[in-house]
């Protein structure tokens, strides 16, 4: 599903003439098979978020290749990556990233609007998805009117609405209490088992890391040897 080959990335900080290059990822290579749940763990500053942002296409790698579903996404431009993203990727963010001026229904419907889906089909699919995450009764609520767990479920519903084969999750339980965290992890497992959705999850939480088929640990921008399960 995902193949990373010799991926390296660094950030340039400081003003022109006094710039400092900070290496973040160094020669990373690994694969994620279809239907797997792979978790990436590591301390703060280990480069795990950068790795996810590179796979998501939010930043461009300096070196190396990223392949998703047979497509070399590391070479796609912004517009082409946007089209690829809407068809193939779902995102779950730590801080949910819901649009506050839109209701739960509108937030879940948004990817379908961007995809150009017919209004009637959209309505039906969005309602089904909200029902699936148990929020049909809250469809007209704005994010500010929902609890953290409910917001994350809206965020998951938004990620699932386009039936993506791969979901990228960045600290999905970071803003949730332990009970809601447990529920969410259970839901991720169900989605993986029932729908065969592949998950690449970034976390520093051991409980989250343990739900994966494999765990990759990053340390100072490198994969720590011997931790691949």
């Amino acid at each position: 599903m995902i193949t990373i080959k010799n991926l390296s990335h660094d950030f340039v900080i400081g003003k022109k003439g006094r710039q400092t290059i900070i290496p973040v990822l160094r020669d990373i290579s690994f694969t994620v098979e279809k239907g797997e749940i792979v978790t990436i763990v590591g301390r703060s500053g280990s480069g795990k978020s950068t790795l996810l942002n590179l796979v998501s296409g939010f930043i461009h790698p300096k070196e190396g290749e990223i392949w998703i579903g047979g497509e070399k996404v590391s070479e796609l431009n912004e517009a082409k990556f946007a089209d690829f993203r809407i068809k193939n990727l779902g995102f779950i963010f730590q801080s949910f990233q819901l649009i506050p001026s839109m209701t739960a229904f509108q937030n879940v419907e948004l990817p379908l609007i961007l995809k150009g889906v017919n209004e009637n089909v959209r309505k039906q699919q969005t309602e089904e998805m909200l029902k699936k995450v148990g929020l049909l009764d809250y469809q007209d609520h704005y994010p500010g009117e929902l609890s953290g767990g409910q917001q994350q479920r809206v965020s998951i519903a938004r990620a699932l609405i386009v039936n993506p084969p791969l979901i990228l999750a960045d600290e999905p339980t970071g803003s949730l209490d332990s009970e809601t965290e447990e529920e969410l992890l259970q839901f991720i497992k169900e989605l993986n088992r029932d729908l065969g959705i592949t998950f690449l999850i970034i976390t520093h939480d051991d409980q989250v890391a343990d739900i994966g088929n494999r765990k990759i640990e990053l340390l100072d921008g490198r994969i720590v040897e011997g931790v691949l399960v």
Binding site: A79, A82, D83, R85, F91, Q97, E119
Partner: protein
Amino acid sequence: MRLRDQFRFVRQNMKKNRTRVFMTILATAMGCAFLIVLASVGFGLQKSVVKEMTEQRVITQIDVHGQETNEKGGFRQLTDKDVKIFEKVKDVKAVTRRKQLQQESTYTIGNYQEPTQTFVANFPSEVKAGFELSKGKLPKSKDEVVVGYNFLLNLASKDAGDDMYDERGQVKAEYRYTGKLLGEKIGLTVTQFKDGKQVEKTIPLTVVGISKKPTKDWAQDSSVFISDEMLKEIEAFTGTPKGFMLDQNGEKPQGLEAGYDTYDEVKIYAKDMEAVQSISDQLKEEKYATYSVVNELKEVNMVFMIAKAGLIFIGTIAILIASIGIYNTMTMAVTERAPDIGIMKAIGANPKTIKRIFLLESSYIGLIGALIGTAVSYVISYTVNFAIPLIIKQAFGKETEINLIFSDIPLILPIICVVICYGVTIISGLRPAQRATKVDVLKAMRREV
């Protein structure tokens, strides 16, 4: 993303800051109304002038005054030879030519008289050009004449005093000849100085026809058309071409003899308005002095076109000023919505879609502004046309002499305004829209923009 959804997005976004959007639309509407009203004055005045010009003259008529004979401004009057040349020119419908009696001729019937102008006309060509009779027939013999439609109205009693005219300049009913005119004998009195004495001759003529009422209400036709043979008889009496009246000494001015057989009034009638220009051009090449209302219209339209372009330009400045408001509103919108844009980009919104949404929003503001501005300018235009004549009447105590149109909004004007407004709003929305596509997803999601 479907266009319908894009419009829905734009409407939702606009609702988020109603006051700011309303003020921007208001500024755009004011700019558009200013442009339309300003230019409408040019259109209105042009319409008035053109209407006035075309009402007074036949549009297909070309007046030919003579021909230049040399570079120094030498000029000669036209003769039958010239008329024959004109008749051969392509798209010429008719060439009318008239000789005018060169003295004030007085006509009498019983105790009534009327001083008026006398012409010799070529009736076949006059008929071709549109001359019609209201009564009677065209003259055939030497002493038969056709009189103008208003001749009868101005035939006044010899006993009438200075108060014989009414406020419209017509002879009052009590002094007017009320008898029959058609078939009646009228006397034409011509005068000449002979041996220092004024000698008169009265020639009996028969009225056989009365011309049709002039199409223009204000036009007066009291002229009398005599035959060429009759003119020759008058010339024999006066001893001068076309009955020219000499002074008491009987001296003939230089070049007077050349006046025989020349025409005083030659008019060419083109088949249609489009042919007027080509006929005029051909005649000008042959050094004929011509005048046509089409040529004059061309010049007038050119002057008004420049004036209107200037007014539209000034009006455009108002729209440009309004566009600064649009630019500001859109820039604010992009800044405020940067986090939302970031989220949309993160879940797969194409930069082109985001650009389109913002361009749509700025053009939406521009178009609504233009439509409101157009509606307001129509109201202003009607009010101006209604109120200004009243104000003039109140202030000066009389109505305007010509029927002035102070403001006219032809369909092209709102179209020009909407096109300018749309163009300007697209340009002013372009940079903010471009900025929206450049929003960094990660910064936006961290609320750092």
